[in-house]
Symmetry: D2
Subunit: 359 residues, 4 copies
């Protein structure tokens, strides 16, 4: 029968079509850690998504991700007329395929309430059925009892927060006080919430960014508008479920969306340095020097605010290079720039010092 089993289409895609190839992402690294590329928020037909769970694994594999969570809604099941509620179904279906493709499949669910508290993902749970509770705090408690990482989703989503400005309610402060909140989405789908950077800094929470995809990743994040889905970068000791979890609780995360990187202040500088290299001056006319600045990552670096005697702005393209022509004085002192696309706070970007390499 021309009936393609759930496993088969992905194999076929991988071997037969160009779009099905796994692309290795080149992203900033934190010395001593491995960068795991993750999407912890996505839906399937088992809540209000449009795809079967195997599609999520295939997408993740092709997109170069290391870890994903399928987080169907606990309380919202618009397809239940056709599909009986089964909070573990997506995970059961996706697990064997994830195993075949070396994708870390985090078990998760989305606790789906009005604001406050809004929506929260419980990640690394084992029993999603235990989250079915009328009382919100009981649901979170059940998740936490399973060792869950609790993420507050899209806190500035206009359907729940009409002015688009995320704000903490008592319930969120209570969660934080109990140690029951571990991260907040700074980026969701196609929108971001600047204030989350400060909330995470002030409350020692992890910065998160996810697709919240309901349809098809390659269609919702299609070129030329998008070149990749938004994702959480997790700096883990190893590429394992345990290390992933450890790193998230230790808040070693950053968010890559569009051409931007949002990262805690203390991680931003090493991340930048891991991908940008200045060359030895290849020309010196006695007044000015010429040197190359190259970028080994998929993220262009957009520098502004250059000092007198150096370019005011510089964009170092992804996997590309620019020539910097600057005053000779910069042989002795670094050139300073703001990196406009590395976000470190609601009102801050990374500041860097760049020096040509010594011979």
């Amino acid at each position: 029968m021309k009936t393609k089993l759930t496993l088969i289409p992905i194999f076929l895609l991988i071997t037969l079509t160009l779009s099905a190839q796994r692309h290795i992402l080149s992203v900033p690294e934190l010395p001593g850690y491995v960068t795991l590329k993750c999407d912890f928020h996505m839906h399937t037909v088992f809540s209000d998504g449009n795809v079967w769970p195997n599609q999520r694994v295939g997408e993740a594999w092709r997109d170069g991700l290391d870890a994903i969570a399928i987080t169907d809604h606990i309380e919202y099941q618009p397809h239940k007329q056709y599909i009986p509620v089964d909070h573990s179904a997506a995970w059961k279906i996706a697990s064997p395929i994830a195993a075949d493709y070396n994708i870390i499949l985090v078990k998760g669910s989305e606790i789906t309430r009005k604001m406050p508290p809004g929506h929260l993902n419980a990640l690394f749970i084992t029993e999603p059925d235990s989250l079915v509770k009328d009382d919100f705090m009981k649901a979170v408690e059940a998740a936490v009892a399973q060792g869950a990482f609790i993420e507050w989703n899209h806190p500035g989503w206009k359907s729940q927060q009409p002015d688009g400005i995320p704000r903490m309610y008592d319930v969120h402060r209570e969660l934080i006080a109990k140690g029951w909140l571990h991260g907040i989405e700074y980026y969701n789908d196609v929108e971001y919430y600047p204030l989350v950077m400060d909330m995470c800094r002030d409350n020692q929470l992890a910065i998160m960014g996810n697709s919240d995809v309901h349809g098809v990743i390659s269609e919702e994040f299609a070129a030329p508008v998008y070149s990749h889905r938004p994702m959480t970068l997790v700096f883990a000791k190893e590429r394992t479920m345990e290390s992933l979890k450890e790193a998230m609780f230790a808040r070693r995360t950053a968010v890559w969306y569009g051409d931007n990187l949002a990262a805690p202040e203390e991680l931003a500088a090493p991340l930048f340095q891991s991908v940008i290299t200045a060359g030895i001056p290849f020309r010196d006319d006695g007044k000015r020097i010429w040197f190359e600045l190259s970028n080994t990552s998929d993220i262009p670096m957009k520098l502004s605010g250059g000092p007198e005697g150096a370019p005011a702005t510089l964009t170092v393209p992804a996997h590309g290079m620019v020539v910097v022509r600057a005053d000779r004085k910069f042989l002795a002192q670094p050139v300073t720039y703001a990196v406009d696309n590395i976000i470190t706070g609601s009102n801050n970007v990374l500041k860097v010092e760049i020096s040509p390499a010594k011979k």
Copy 2:
């Protein structure tokens, strides 16, 4: 709640993202008819597909299609552990969205048996449940009683026909004798069966071409390998369900796949002429003339076998133009070519005569 209802995601896609725009296809026309762009073979989670039915409507709208049929398997339900069998579910879910987007949604099912007879789509049915029969002929009879157009799917599919060569068995001849078979897939997914051209010609059946998509159209037929899904072109009196059906039973169909068009001998020449225009000679040096050949369709036209004194081969690009430089004698006699990508039989392509326009 950030819960995207089944209707909403498509609206969002259409209004917000570039890839979501409906593209108007430019394909050959048959004088006096409107060309309907159709895909009559696709699957959803309700058999072994990977998407919710609304995705099929959204894909069709973006791809510029006029009519589709969702044809989940009657006898094969690998998801039934999670989704109770409901042969009408996909149609019920897709119908209101199709109505919103002016897509003609043909109700259909795939009768799914070993070869012979193989797989057959029953199109324009009203009661898919009535096709659940142990006896294959009873199933077809039930479909025909509902006015169904019966299409024999992928007759050379290697899983059922290991040498890849389609052949008629007694059961197919019996169907034809009873008037219970109306079309055969010449093209399915990514493969074609040349002999189907002759089978259709000899038995007065319609030539069909469909995606048989199980995954996502934009991923399975992605650039640069593919620029569109395979489709059946139906030359109908009007853009209505009734006219569509009339045209299919009258076998006014052609198949567009890759850069190729497969069409019955009698339709091929007018189809070619509807899109290719020769200009008035714009230069004449006494020995040779220069004139333009332009193509208003999405299908490049690949001419070969040109006579002495004219280009041996010519490709007129889609929405493009070439300059033909030919001997002056072609002012008085046409230039003859084979159109290598307009297929009229298992071993035949269209032959055309081209003359520069008169002033």
Copy 3:
């Protein structure tokens, strides 16, 4: 010898490579006229450009242009150390190739002075050497005596007009008074000058838009930033040099740049109507109607300011379609929109009324 003659590379490009195919542009039409796609400002190695003249013809052919002018500087010859000054060389070299490809090659030169008067193209001249004059007005007089169309180039170019705002000096008013100025560039290279719309309206001059290319067209106007070079659309009685000239002096021109069209008020509405079609309502639920709006051109149409009961904004994609869902009252009265990308004045865009088609 592997020595590709000047004529050969273009032939090779056309026949061998995809990028070398001529693409037919789909642009708005003015009833009763043919739209000529033109670029009247480009350079070669014979002034400060980087390419041999045949490249300009090849580019024009591939880009779907009908007419071009190579307008090397009269007064600026930075390559003269290597190339003796010859103001007719580019035209002599390009002419036979243009004849082979049916490109109308307008003979032209750029009179290149400080502001005022700045730079002016003399088009349709016969003797460029006659423009070599110390006295600017004498140079223009010589051109006008040859029947030239005089175009004032990039009047807001910051190298000559530091605030970027074009302004008329006495010399320009004198030219206009004498009938020696016929058009002004509203668009040049990658910049536009809104006030030129009003200058042209008030002084009865033609609106012009050109590439002013010095390098390679496909590199300077490359995807994804650009999908085509800027160009002047000329609405001519026929596709001939004479008709082209008549239309330009009659100021039947518009400018296509990016996704925008700049046109005189009186041409804008028919241009819009030539490419946008509303369909018959295909759905009516008693309160609202649904109808299609389609666009046959390469230019998306961006509508805003929709009335209550209709979409506030609508983008009808190039060669695409949108569904409009509107109140039933719009069966009796048109839906009004501003077309944000059809510019009719320094501060004006086209206003349109759209009605669904009658059955």
Copy 4:
């Protein structure tokens, strides 16, 4: 004046347009050496090319090249009616721009004769005028006296060798005997000559591959047909003119064209190993193991002839990864493949052994 000086357009290109960015190429490495990406055969308006010399530097910079030679014909000057013959002009014009962009500009000329001997590039010369000799051997002698590397160009070019098969004539054997021939083009423009692999091996000559571009690189090698120009990879001790020259005379070269790499037998294996990495098995079901194979280069690797119990064919995409599912026995013995796109002789491709990594 809106007159773009020769230096300026390239700066503008680099800073303003996406296509103008320098892309860093990822190609195989030879341990202990740096891979220089080179094109030693290109033309400008100073012979029969279509561009000014600065265009060649801009193209090289954007394409990620390290070294180029402009090699205008000594004996063929079709533009001399307009441009006086100056064999050093291109080098003089391009030199300062190359210095600004850190491109190694090799001075060269093409000695252009009928076959035999055909065309030969003299690279690293200082006085091109000295190559103007009636006697071919005198011309080569003059070049060799300047320390030139002599490359025999396109030996199978059909205009000189109608059957397309390169063959050595007495004159070539004489050159080799004198030590006056150092490399042969295996690849030129869009064609390759398999027998050159054997000629180079048997005569200890360097394998060369160049664009021989006359027009515009980005147009002649445009997507989707081409993703890069053909180039010679030179494995040098340092990125300097001297090291480049040393490496070429030592024949440490390979050719990258399309998705293929042509390399001497002794270099091919380390080149492959420098970019392909096998992972630790991530799954083991007792019968089979699963492991990843990843590719850090821009060149996909196409493996065929896999043994029983392993995939018959495998394509490891550029910057991508495949999962290999193989019999457990391959924990103890390597999987053998032919690498179909690493060419080592007229009839040979590289053979490799792949083993999953140890824990």
